[in-house]
């Protein structure tokens, strides 16, 4: 009897989960497992046959492939800048906007707006700014330093990508931090100011600990997204000049779809990206959760 009831329960469960599981298995699970498998082969994506090469692809990618190693290094640099700058500006904006009474809706709307626009479109608009508008301003005003080859110089194109990414991404984080700030009880801040704390001390000792969970999310989002950066680079510099701004995702994309036909090798690089993102997010969440408990 109970066996029959259980069987019915199991079947109902499967009936409800089946549609989701079907799409998920075909388009997420199968490619993940397949990618893992192909990463161990020398498959070129076309031939019906291929050889197992074990971890050969991984070893080659991590020791021999200068372009791939450069792209990892470049991505790491990008991640560090983005994690610090975007969270700093997002918290700053959230705190300042929340302190306004009537204008806060306006500011929130404007600062979030770029996040709605695709990075591809935003990237082309900033390319216009960098290649046409800034040189024009430099020529016609005193701001001569603006006349630089923002896209053509490897050092500057890094900052061009950072500026585009901040422009696009800071609004999203700001919305998260605003939501967190709205959850901080007003009485706590008032109590602190009665006790003689200035605005900065109140923020440091009252507000910041209260929005710590949001900081966990903010860091998680920026770490995760920054390691996967693709569109910002694709639209603005295309990875150039040369390969100076090639990020990991772009390197994989080119390896798989335009440069060579080394599917197996590109799959190994894709697995390396997965492992980097996986390990770093797990470590970050673990550290942050531990600190949250202490606070």
């Amino acid at each position: 009897m109970s066996f029959l009831r259980n069987r019915k329960k199991t079947l109902t469960l499967l009936a409800f989960v089946f549609p989701a599981l079907l799409f998920y298995s075909v388009f997420v699970l199968a490619p993940s497992i397949g990618g893992g498998w192909y990463s161990l082969t020398d498959w070129n994506g076309l031939n019906p046959t291929y050889k197992m090469v074990g971890f050969g692809n991984y070893i080659e990618a991590l020791t021999d492939d200068r372009f791939f190693l450069d792209s990892i290094w470049f991505t790491l640099k990008y991640v560090v800048f983005m994690v610090i700058l975007s969270n700093f500006f997002a918290i700053l904006l959230a705190v300042l906007i929340e302190s306004r009474k009537r204008s806060k809706v306006w500011f929130r709307t404007i600062f979030f707006m770029p996040n709605m626009i695709s990075l591809i479109i935003g990237g082309f608009m900033w390319m216009f700014i960098f290649t046409k508008v800034l040189p024009y301003i430099a020529e016609h005003t005193a701001f001569k330093f603006l006349d630089q080859s923002w896209i053509g110089d490897p050092k500057l194109s890094f900052f061009a990508i950072i500026i585009l990414s901040l422009w696009s991404g800071v609004g999203y984080l700001m919305v998260i931090y605003i939501a967190a700030l709205q959850g901080v009880p007003q009485q706590l801040k008032e109590a602190a100011s009665i006790d003689g704390a200035n605005a900065f001390q109140t923020f440091r000792n009252v507000t910041l600990p209260m929005i710590y969970p949001a900081l966990t999310i903010g860091l998680f989002v920026t770490l995760n997204n920054s390691f996967k950066v693709f569109e910002a680079v694709f639209a603005l510099t295309g990875g150039g000049p040369g390969r100076a701004t090639q990020v990991i995702a772009l390197n994989i994309f080119e390896e798989a779809f335009s440069m060579s036909n080394r599917y197996g090798y590109a799959s190994a690089k894709a697995m390396i990206l997965f492992m980097i993102v996986f390990i770093i997010t797990i470590v970050q969440l673990w550290i942050m959760k531990r600190r949250e408990v202490e606070v």
């Binding site: 329960k9 469960l13 409800f16 989960v17 549609p19 599981l21 799409f23 998920y24 075909v26 388009f27 997420v28 699970l29 199968a30 490619p31 993940s32 397949g34 990618g35 904006l93 300042l96 302190s99 306004r100 929130r108 709307t109 404007i110 600062f111 979030f112 707006m113 770029p114 709605m116 626009i117 990075l119 591809i120 479109i121 935003g122 608009m125 216009f128 700014i129 046409k132 301003i137 016609h140 422009w167 919305v175 998260i176 605005a199 999310i217 989002v221 996967k228 693709f230 990991i248 995702a249 994989i252 994309f253 779809f257 799959s267 894709a270 990206l273 997965f274 993102v277 996986f278 997010t281």
Partner: protein, 285 residues
């Protein structure tokens, strides 16, 4: 006497502080809007006027830039393609994920938690790690080049997060409700669509907003799947145009403005819901 002077000084310094904050925010807002403003301004100039007068208002509005960009990116066709892709994806994600999220949340036991874990685990897999094999699979299934096929892929990629959000939300719906409906003679599916699904409305709205924005602005997956230019989304058509006319900025800028128009209008009308949806999704997801 001393106290009131102090209070006055306090008020003054607060005023100055407030003015400084306002100034800073205005400056930031100008930076945020600058590229859009520059694009808008120069999209109605001729190429030569643009290069001599990039900052000033146009002397004569060139709306024919828009007419030609409109044609070159096949605006209506691209828009309709984008709507169809996002529509298939959105309906599929909501139907599949609400069913699964509800039942997984209600059922206790090993199988249920294992399935839930399987869905959640994949939220850590970057798209770039599966894209190569995904393209191969869609090629095998002959859905490469099909906009409905792309919609279906979005269902697969989108259900995890939606199941997670539904799963959490269902916990707040009392079980008594299920039991009462069963006693009244409801079958499992009728209970779901007549009683439970209407109650999921708030989280469905959040999921709809998040997924719509994702699919609308997604670039890489359509680039890999849509091999035929008849099926191009707004973004792909715009990107194509950029490749072909990379120095004809007056044409490109009007295309960029056209391509961002739908989403900006959508945002300005629904901004309260969108901002809430983003915050909800981020905090719970």
């Amino acid at each position: 006497m001393h106290l009131s002077a102090n209070a006055k000084g306090d008020r003054l310094s607060r005023r100055v502080g407030s003015a400084l904050i306002f100034l800073f925010l205005i400056l930031g807002a100008v930076v945020m809007l600058f590229p859009i403003y520059m694009g808008l301004l120069n999209s109605v100039k001729t190429q030569s006027e643009m290069l001599t007068n990039i900052l000033s208002l146009p002397t004569k509005f060139q709306f024919k830039n828009y007419a030609s960009a409109f044609e070159k990116i096949h605006f209506f066709r691209s828009l309709w393609n984008t709507i169809q892709i996002a529509g298939v994806g959105l309906i599929g994600i909501i139907v599949c994920a609400s069913l699964a999220g509800y039942k997984l949340s209600r059922t206790k036991g090993g199988l249920s938690s294992a399935l839930f874990g399987l869905f959640i685990l994949s939220m850590l897999i970057p798209f770039h790690s599966i894209m190569i094999t995904l393209v191969k699979i869609s090629n095998k299934l002959s859905i490469q080049g099909s906009i409905y096929g792309l919609g279906m892929i979005y269902i697969g990629l989108g259900v995890s997060m939606a199941i997670f959000l539904y799963h959490g939300f269902v916990k707040s719906i009392p079980r008594d409700l299920d039991e009462a409906a069963i006693i009244d003679g409801c079958g499992e599916f009728k209970l779901f669509y007549a009683v439970i699904f209407p109650l999921l409305m708030p989280v469905t709205a959040t999921i709809a907003i998040l997924n719509l924005l994702w699919m609308w602005n997604d670039f890489l997956l359509p680039l890999l799947i849509l091999t035929n230019s008849d099926g191009y989304t707004l973004l792909l058509s715009t990107n194509m145009l950029f490749g072909q006319y990379s120095n004809d900025w007056s044409n490109i800028l009007s295309a960029l403005i056209l391509a961002m128009l739908p989403v900006v209008i959508f945002y300005l009308i629904l901004q309260k819901y969108i901002l809430n949806g983003i915050a909800e999704g981020a905090i719970k997801g």
